[in-house]
């Protein structure tokens, strides 16, 4: 069966007064129906921009899609008109953004905001839409849904607002739900509830999910596949268990190693990745992580490694490296 989403060689830049920002560089991947893909990366990794650009949600200019194809159910989204994208967003592809404070309209009731995509895409009457809104709010765990639909966003707590955002995201039963740092602004206790809710919804309605975050812990609990991005590129990707246990990109390895892992005070010093995130204004040459990578070779600085199947690992475990991390770690251990 063809994958639900098939991204090929997507490259996105932003033309700014300071120069051209190379935000997404030659990103290709697929996602199967029903799969949950966790995308991990820091600011500037291209994780959000690539997701927004595939459905026409970046401002153009300054944004510019230089190349690529994004096949969703067989159609290239990058060739669709604004009108066609308008019909697709919300209905086929749902979005949940980071900040429920700014992504909800403060002067419209929650009912209006959830009902809008429903009425637009399905021509529901006002009362039909209302029934569906109540149903959705109950689904995302908002108590007394019927009484609360007439309220405004400020009458909801942060966690409840994020639930409203999720309700909007799934209102039209989208094939694909893209959540961009959807729990980052929330308290950990609320985050735990939202993650539970997403797992539950997947069981109930089988949505395919792209969950974008910087939190390794969140990905560990939610995703089937993890994709690590850095400097606009995919550094590594594969089944979560495999990548957490046997990372092959020095960046993934460094990220995992720099977490405290339940470590107590006075135990070993935290491992720290040296250096600073890359400046994307420079023309990308070589492996973007190479300047911060103690295992980097001459070649890493000159030539960009392709994302390739890791030899000897499970199918689908891919890394973009010129070095063999396992060998390098062995050498390092031998030295100590």
């Amino acid at each position: 069966m063809a994958p639900l989403l098939d991204i090929r060689n997507l490259t996105v830049v932003f033309d700014t007064p300071a120069g051209t920002v190379h935000a997404v560089n030659d990103v290709s991947y697929t996602i199967e129906e029903g799969e949950t893909l966790g995308i991990v990366g820091e600011s500037g990794s291209g994780k959000s921009v690539h997701a927004l650009s595939m459905v026409g949600l970046i401002a153009r200019p300054p944004g510019r899609i230089v190349s690529g194809e994004v096949y969703f159910k067989g159609r290239d989204l990058l060739k669709l008109s604004q009108r066609e994208l308008f019909d697709l967003r919300g209905k086929e592809i749902g979005f949940v953004f980071q900040d429920p404070m700014t992504s909800l309209n403060p002067v419209l009731t929650v009912e209006r905001q959830i009902a809008e995509p429903l009425r637009r895409h399905f021509n529901l009457s006002k009362s039909q839409a209302r029934e569906r809104v109540v149903e959705l709010l109950e689904l995302v765990g908002i108590p007394n849904a019927r009484e609360r639909i007439g309220q405004y966003p400020h009458e909801f707590s942060g966690g409840m607002r994020q639930r409203v955002m999720i309700a909007i995201g799934i209102s039209c039963n989208p094939k694909l739900l893209i959540a961009d740092e959807a729990t980052t602004a929330l308290d950990v206790t609320v985050q735990a509830q939202i993650l539970d809710l997403v797992r539950d919804l997947k069981k109930k309605i089988g949505t395919t999910v792209i969950w974008i975050t910087h939190d390794m812990g969140v990905v560990a609990g939610l995703a089937d596949t993890i994709q690590v991005m850095y400097g606009g590129r995919i550094m590594e990707r594969g089944p979560v268990d495999t990548v957490f246990e046997d990372p092959r990109s020095a960046y993934t390895w460094g990220l995992l190693k720099s977490l405290p892992h339940g470590g107590k005070r006075g135990t070993t010093r935290l491992y720290q990745i040296p250096g600073n995130p890359p400046n994307l204004i420079n023309e990308p040459i070589g492996d973007p992580f190479a300047p911060r990578n103690t295992f980097a070779t001459e070649r890493c600085l000159r030539e960009t490694p392709p994302l390739q199947q890791v030899e000897g690992s499970v199918p689908g475990h891919k890394a973009a490296v010129w070095y063999d991390l396992r060998e390098e770690l062995k050498k390092q251990e031998a030295k100590v």
């Binding site: 942060g158 950990v188 206790t189 985050q191 969140v218 339940g262 470590g263 990745i273």
Partner: protein
């Protein structure tokens, strides 16, 4: 009531918060209606010993940042006392407070908004030296700033640059350099790593540790990342709706949490291990249904370990 009384420390506490309260609102509005007062900090007491790191955790709106600000007299407490190095700071005039100010500093969450975009980072770090009349001679001041830059891991040649030329981690290093410029004894760090990229957080955590070892600093470390708290702190205080619901040594809190809210909070930390994380069952805790009763007090449950009951 003062917590930690069972401890027989070799030294006196550096900072004592004694029954601090901070209420917002509640005044009469223009039309004479009185708005309900919000008790952001409600009867909060604790002590911090020299060289110690006390972690302060809780949900947003629990009053942890306000506690930090009140402690530094950036906001006046509605009631209660702050004893710093044995002297009561509450009610002191600005001029009497000024000598204490150099001894207590704050580092904020967002190094993008806490730096002045029109000042070179060198000027920014030297500002406290000028304000407090330390190193009045310009070349001497420059030398001190250069030394501070080296101490926080920045190249002194960066001194003449402006904040926009720096990444988040470097900006936070600049803020820390300013924070330690006057050799303070006590630093309130208000979510200092939250806004930083994941690959940078460990660098800054290590810097905080190194500076403590080197300069004997005392920290109040406010955070919501509990795994970092465990790694950094000697003791932790858990806040809920303006009150401390549990306080104790890190190990006691993490291994043997007593308050239902602490238990829920700990169970909610995502673990970066798919095998554990997939089967983790967070404990739910409905805050509004379980507000700490007004008359509850901190009761001892173990060595230096107290819980609100």
């Amino acid at each position: 009531m003062s917590v930690d009384r069972t401890m027989t420390p070799p030294q006196k506490p550096l900072v004592i918060a004694n029954r601090l309260c901070k209420t917002f609102g509640g005044g009469r509005s223009l039309l004479g209606a009185s708005a309900p007062a919000l008790k952001a900090v409600n009867d909060v007491s604790f002590e911090i010993f020299p060289g110690e790191t006390l972690g302060l955790v809780g949900e947003s709106g629990s009053g942890k940042s306000t506690t930090g600000r009140v402690l530094l007299q950036l906001e006046e407490p509605t009631s209660g006392d702050i004893i710093f190095k044995g002297q009561n700071l509450t009610g002191l005039s600005k001029s009497l407070l000024k000598p204490h100010r150099r001894d207590m500093q704050i580092i904020f969450q967002d190094p993008y908004s806490s730096l002045n975009p029109r000042m070179t980072v060198g000027e920014f770090v030297s500002e406290p030296l000028i304000v407090h009349g330390v190193a009045t001679n310009k070349s001497e001041r420059n030398d001190r700033v250069a030394a501070l830059f080296r101490k926080v891991g920045l190249d002194p040649s960066f001194m003449t640059r402006y904040p926009h030329e720096f990444s988040g981690g470097q900006r936070q290093r600049v803020c820390i350099a300013r924070g330690i410029a006057l050799d303070p004894a006590f630093i309130v760090a208000d979510e200092p790593i939250t806004a930083l990229d994941v690959s940078i957080q460990a660098q800054i955590v290590n810097l905080f540790q190194d500076l403590q070892d080197e300069l004997g600093l005392t920290y109040l470390f406010i955070a919501h990342d509990l795994s970092m708290i465990r790694y950094l702190c000697h003791r932790v205080a858990v806040m809920l709706r303006g009150r401390i619901v549990e306080i104790g040594p890190c190990e006691a809190i993490f291994e043997n949490p007593q308050h239902a809210y602490t238990q829920a909070l700990l169970s909610a930390i995502p673990v970066p291990d798919p095998r554990i994380e997939r089967n983790r069952k967070p404990i739910t805790f409905d805050v509004s249904a379980n507000l700490p009763p007004e008359e509850a007090t901190l009761q001892p449950v173990g060595d230096r370990h107290f819980v609100l009951r």
